[in-house]
Subunit: 323 residues, 2 copies
Amino acid sequence: MKIGILGYGNLGRGVEFAVRQNPDMELVAIFTRRKPEELKINSDAQVVSLSEIENWKDKIDVLIICSGSANDLPVQTPKYAEIFNVVDSFDNHAKIPTHFENVDKSAKANGKVAMISVGWDPGMFSLNRVYANAVLPEGKDYTFWGKGISQGHSDAIRRIAGVKDAKQYTIPVESALQAVRNCENPTFTAREMHTRECFVVAEDGADKARIENEIKNMPNYFEPYNTTVHFISEQELKEKHGGIPHGGFVIRVGNTAGDKNHIIEYSLKLESNPEFTSSVLVAYARAVYRLAKEGECGCKTVFDIAPKYLSQKSNEELRKSML
Amino acid sequence: MKIGILGYGNLGRGVEFAVRQNPDMELVAIFTRRKPEELKINSDAQVVSLSEIENWKDKIDVLIICSGSANDLPVQTPKYAEIFNVVDSFDNHAKIPTHFENVDKSAKANGKVAMISVGWDPGMFSLNRVYANAVLPEGKDYTFWGKGISQGHSDAIRRIAGVKDAKQYTIPVESALQAVRNCENPTFTAREMHTRECFVVAEDGADKARIENEIKNMPNYFEPYNTTVHFISEQELKEKHGGIPHGGFVIRVGNTAGDKNHIIEYSLKLESNPEFTSSVLVAYARAVYRLAKEGECGCKTVFDIAPKYLSQKSNEELRKSML
């Protein structure tokens, strides 16, 4: 299975690593908008300017698009689904239906399989929501995120005047998790489910009280939450907050008609958010390859894929060893 | 979607309840080997002698077979897959490949869809093993069961002379769970993962020391574990241990090539083991119905079914609300 990567940021590098863990795959090319000779990669793949991607039409089985959800994927995924089977990690939940329509049109017109919104949320968390809701139609869903770095919230802090750098952790409220697990069926405000902890490097002479105030009162991002702000040195930020961990919990508490309570809980604890997301992308690239071989086409999500398509093992072997 | 139930024990009653929670389904008949007039059921379904089941050939979309795994399902599932689309909860892991072959042959020869081994283990736990292994190819799997009632172990105690009744709880060792979650990659003996706690009602005048000794030294069932035995009254057994709770944990600890650790954990905490299993059977009955409509046939397991087939919601609605 010949894999191509479009975009060589954290996610692209993660895919490069993940392909190595899957002996049925080979990474053949990394496409970049930068100058190819400036890219330092960690594999034998060829580095190719994005402008030449059409030459690779028949040399790649699945193209994994590792660009940003905000601006790149809405354009790139429909575009490259014209010439490749593709996978992306489009994560703007509200815009998924539109993205799906666009990608579906392009993939169908060109006989390609295109998977969107692959990762952990959307992705593995979504799967667990669907399974749990199907099995327990009467119940309540809860999703908690963290403890982990929120890129969007960290960026928001960095845009404040006087801030040199910052990292923001989203943290689930332990007592809220416990209330859910105790079958109390709570209804939460945003504040009751998550807290936000910020580590900020201020510029020399900046007014820290003003910065802290601006963070805590930022609408949508921080105002609806209990937020803690710590000012630390650049050195400490680098040493103690250099990672990109994340994770969370998807819980459904439901009852069966005999009035018994049941709790289904799925959780992830990830030391590297992009490396895990990449691993999910690579597993679904296998599914895309197999569906394409079977003659399928069009846009797919994780809901459309039978689990067997993700595994390196044969169906017989899966039944024998994992059922 | 017209549902039939074969066998009216705990599981059959659970299916009867679960169908009520799924407005796209209707329970039309319960088939029994007992005298139909002796069955007290909790719905408007018709109670029918098993000997007349062939008359229902065209009146049922999916037959959910709720009989015992040990002796009944190996015979009944291949037999009734000749005339109905069927689902069973065959749970003898070692014999699944043989059962699959037998059911597949019969279902294919008759153009029926037959799902086997549906429930939580095999079932939801198996799904989680496959997803987690596909996403993290390098790592280690752990399955813990409990806290919950093991029917097999309870039965084994009841067979000891002088025992009137008994319930056995399988309990995961908390420190073992923690070691796994701490990414210590431990290798466990059976004793290190689970303990067994037994509540026994002895017959009047029975030798309790001898009973306790027989339990604790029973090969395979109890000898490999740390086992606790409590002698209690029949009244107390009924009051405090009358439920059938169960559950457990499927954990995969894996690493990505950047050498970051990731923990995927799925857990169930069930107040009623049979009612939850029944709910899974009913969700997969929906999938069987839809696959049959699409012209599929043959034996299927949870690995073969795309999540969307389980849900009452349309694909559009799923993408909009759950992705």
